[in-house]
């Protein structure tokens, strides 16, 4: 069999695989449809180039395979052709880059009305902190973390007192409202990634990173850690529940604030001291 036939088969097979593949994007559940569109655009342009280059190659090996005495072209250079190819490629590249940069610009500029959610990552689990009524998260530091202060909130920062603490890996979100995810890590790199939302960003100990998206489909989603963080990396999962405004408000009311937590601890302590005293 002529090798050209097999190479042709590879090209045709790749295209057919792409058309009929059962493996494809998870259904999108956020505003980042534009990312999918840019990918599809890249598929069209890039796929086109792949097909053309490979077909030209296959054509050449069919037409010009070795024959004694075949007349061969001797043309070391062709400036015109080289120029055309350079320009065509440049145009293609710009066509891909421009929309990509526009989408990226949206990605790094968070809308003003975004809800803030702080995601805390550690080896190997997640917890969350939401700003309380003041809408501002209190400042926090890794070194301040204790059993009584699981997020390391600065005790003298008044903004921190009403922060809502969720010591659990299930996060609830309102549908159709942008969220700004603020990422903190207590130890190593992690990454809070929900495939259906498309967006992701690493959590880095020592600094706060962010990204935003707007969930727009009610449902439950699995969170996967997408930055290698040690042996437990593959098991570092969590859950996001996207729900209607009403359900979300109900959920948020049940959550504890930092001052609730302090109060609870104080009452525990006073109980303890009472117990200790009565034992005297």
């Amino acid at each position: 069999m002529h090798p050209g036939i097999i190479f042709l088969g590879v090209v045709v097979g790749s295209v057919l695989f792409h058309i009929f593949t059962p493996w494809w994007w998870t259904d999108i559940a956020s505003n980042w449809g534009a990312m999918d569109d840019t990918i599809n655009l890249t598929f069209w342009i890039g796929g086109g180039v792949f097909i053309l280059v490979c077909l030209f190659m296959v054509y050449c090996i069919f037409m010009f395979s070795y024959k004694e005495g075949r007349k061969v072209e001797y043309k070391p250079e062709d400036h015109k052709l080289e120029k055309i190819l350079t320009i065509a490629t440049t145009v293609g590249v710009i066509a891909l880059l421009a929309p990509g940069l526009i989408v990226y610009n949206n990605y790094i500029n968070t809308p003003k009305n975004a809800l803030q959610v702080e995601v805390n990552a550690w080896q190997w689990g997640w917890q969350y902190r939401l700003p309380g009524e003041d809408g501002i998260l209190g400042t926090a530091q890794v070194a301040k973390i204790t059993d009584d202060n699981p997020f390391g909130i600065n005790l003298d920062d008044p903004n921190g007192k009403d922060d809502i603490l969720i010591e659990d890996d299930v996060l609830h979100l309102k549908t159709d409202r942008p969220v700004k995810i603020l990422l903190r890590s207590l130890d190593v790199l992690h990454n809070y990634y929900v495939p259906q939302f498309r967006a992701k960003m690493d959590a880095i100990p020592g600094i706060i990173t962010y990204y935003w998206f707007e969930p727009n489909k009610i449902g439950e989603y699995e969170v996967l850690c997408a930055e290698y963080c040690g042996v437990g990396h593959y098991a570092m999962r969590a859950k996001v529940i996207v729900e209607s405004e009403g359900n979300y408000e109900n959920w948020i009311k049940e959550q504890e604030t930092f001052s609730d937590l302090i109060a609870k601890q104080e009452s525990n302590e006073s109980k303890l001291t009472l117990v200790a005293k009565s034992n005297d």
């Binding site: 002529h2 250079e77 062709d78 880059l97 890794v142 790199l189 967006a199 040690g230």
Partner: protein, 613 residues
């Protein structure tokens, strides 16, 4: 010291008297005139004992073979590790001893071995050493002793790396990127001796490699024979030269980051370590930056992929030209593309860091520079396929591997445009799309070139041909097998399967990936075993292969034109060759034969209408 070529050691005056005759006896009209040599010839060291001839040898050709064999050995270790990983991914409960710890150690060692100890050492240490002096017409590298030390440093680096498999805690499982803080903290396997040995081994590698690299660069710049202008060098040499220059500039970044991380690990400095609380305990670190490491790592890491790719580009250009019996199309543009890609490759590193938490504004800059590189890269691809147009293509094993390279490289190059375009990278980064992309473009494609190059130069090194029949089987298994491993794998990335996952277990939406993972594993095992056809072919051909004779492929470049085949120590016998043209004069109109070697003077091919090069 040199006792073999007495005449070769001509003192400077003798050379200049030759110059005199050149000038006085001829005028500039003499079409065979070549500028005289400017430097006296090099003294060579001739080993006589077994040890100095074959072990601590100073002949670049032997050093090249030593590099090659050591690199191939590490490559086989890397291959076996990949089987173990694939078994775990395809059939999770089949091999009980693969725990998560082991899996991560395999991933790390596999990745590091393949990129650094296998591909880099093979292309530059192996092909570089063997081919540079031969192709530029030198007797050896300019510093043969340093060259010998370079190999032995590499050898020690490999030993240290392999030793880490046997230390308590095993080798590091930090991922080949070795990102701190994780790499040196207890949550990662091998975070004590494992990581220290890895960092030590890399440092040794860089030191050894610098010795070799300086040799390659200076040999190419200073020791070319008469008439071998830069623009007459084979593209192989251009590729190796540029890659080595990149290595000299990029490896220092790796070396310093290795040293800094070693200090963080052993002396508890905090270059890369911020305040950390682990298992409820505040560690003794504070103020360092993990992102700084990533910048240093990728400042090395991105040029590193071109350190692998550029020699492959160069070699494949030469293989295509020889076996298509046609000059490479657009030689000058190919040279500028290699140099341009090399230069630009220092300005794109942060495309590996789009979701790393660096300043988000960097994304615009690095996406733009990355896509700019696509232009010269695409031009190279066009030039390869245009070279095939109206050529006379021998469909032998070498050519098949070149064609396999074009297909896989174009495929992987295009997925690179996905990942370089920052908005597209965000959903795809750290998924199997990335794994598929870089295996296609820097795993399979360069391997195609390496294998093609072995079929091409085996006759030169050993004097015997490899079996074409076995070669074709080897090619089809490898090419079709590797393509069916990595082409479908991109689609796992679309589903969102993250890389470096020991197990997906109960994720609902990745259940559909199970079947594909099994298929990929089977394909990976087949491809792996197909390499034994190759090894068998090499081993048997050493003794029963058809004798190659001189210049069996009818190539033009110098390495085939030595007085003895395989070339002897000193390469050129008594007189250095003199070069009259580029190495791509195939099928020149008016010429009697379909090739004109680089040493053929114009007066011998008067009727040929060559372009002046």
């Amino acid at each position: 010291m040199s006792d073999e070529y007495n005449q070769k050691n001509t003192p400077l005056e003798a050379q200049s008297s030759e110059t005199m005759t050149d000038i006085s006896g001829t005028t500039s009209k003499d079409i065979d005139y070549v500028r005289p040599a400017e430097l006296p010839e090099q003294d060579l060291y001739h080993g006589h004992s077994f040890i100095t001839k074959w072990v601590f040898c100073q002949d670049a050709k032997v050093i090249g073979v030593q590099y090659f064999l050591t690199a191939v050995f590490t490559g086989i270790v890397g291959l076996v590790l990949s089987w173990l990983m694939r078994l775990q991914l395809g059939y999770p409960d089949l091999v009980p001893f693969i725990t998560a710890e082991h899996y991560y150690q395999f991933v790390t060692m596999h990745g590091m071995i393949m990129v650094v100890y296998f591909l880099t050492a093979l292309f530059l240490g192996g092909f570089g050493n063997y081919l540079i002096p031969l192709m530029v017409g030198a007797r050896d590298m300019v510093f043969p002793y340093v060259n010998m030390v370079s190999f032995w440093m590499f050898f020690i680096a490999v030993c240290v790396l392999m030793a880490s498999f046997f230390v308590p805690g095993g080798p590091t499982g930090a991922g080949w990127t070795l990102y701190p803080p994780q790499a040196i903290l207890p949550g990662t396997p091998g975070s004590n001796m494992g990581i220290i040995l890895m960092l030590a081994s890399l440092s040794l590698f860089v030191i050894g490699f610098t010795m070799g690299g300086l040799n390659y660069i200076i040999t190419i710049l200073q020791a070319r024979t008469r008439g071998m202008t830069l623009m007459r060098m084979p593209l192989t040499i251009w590729g190796i030269f540029t890659a080595t220059a990149l290595a000299m500039l990029a490896f220092p970044a790796l070396l310093v980051s290795c040293i800094m991380m070693t200090l963080d690990k052993m002396l508890e400095t905090s270059f890369f370590m911020p305040a950390i609380i682990q298992a409820g305990e505040v560690l003794d670190y504070g103020g360092g930056s993990p992102v700084l490491f990533q910048h240093l790592f990728w400042f090395f890491g991105h040029p590193e992929v071109y350190i692998v790719a550029l020699p492959a580009f160069g070699i494949v250009s030469d293989l295509i030209s020889v076996h298509a019996r046609k000059n490479i199309f657009g030689y000058r543009m190919m040279v500028w593309a290699i140099v341009g890609i090399g230069g630009l490759s220092f300005f794109v590193w942060a495309h590996h860091m789009y979701v790393s938490g660096m300043n988000p504004w960097f994304g615009f800059f690095f996406a733009t520079t990355t896509l700019i590189i696509a232009v010269p890269t695409a031009l190279k691809v066009y030039n390869w396929i245009i070279t095939l147009f109206r050529a006379n293509i021998r469909m032998n094993t070498v050519m098949l591997f070149c064609l396999g390279f074009i297909v896989t490289f174009v495929n992987g190059g295009i997925t690179g445009i996905f990942l370089g375009n920052v908005a597209v990278d965000i959903p795809l980064s750290d998924t199997y799309f990335v794994i598929a992309h870089f295996h296609m473009v820097m795993g399979v494609a360069p391997l195609m070139v390496i294998m093609g190059a072995v079929y091409h130069w085996f006759p030169l090194v050993t004097g015997r041909m490899l079996s074409e029949k076995l070669g074709k089987w080897h090619f089809w298994f490898t090419f079709l097998g590797a393509y069916s491993i990595y082409f479908p794998m991109h689609y796992l990335g679309f589903i969102g399967v993250p890389r470096r996952y020991f197990e997906m277990y109960d994720s609902p939406y990745v259940a559909s990936a199970t079947g594909m993972n099994e298929f990929i594993t089977v394909a990976a095992l087949i491809v792996g075993f197909a390499q034994f056809i190759f090894i068998y072919n090499i081993v048997t051909s050493l003794s029963i292969g058809k004798p190659a004779g001189k210049n069996p492929w009818k190539a033009n470049s110098l390495e085939w034109l030595t007085p003895e085949v395989p070339p002897a120590h000193g390469n050129w016998g008594e007189k250095l060759p003199v070069i009259h043209r580029w190495p791509y004069d195939f099928n020149v109109p008016g010429a009697k034969e379909d090739y004109i070697t680089q040493t053929t003077p114009p007066s011998e091919v008067m009727s040929a209408e060559v372009e002046k090069t």
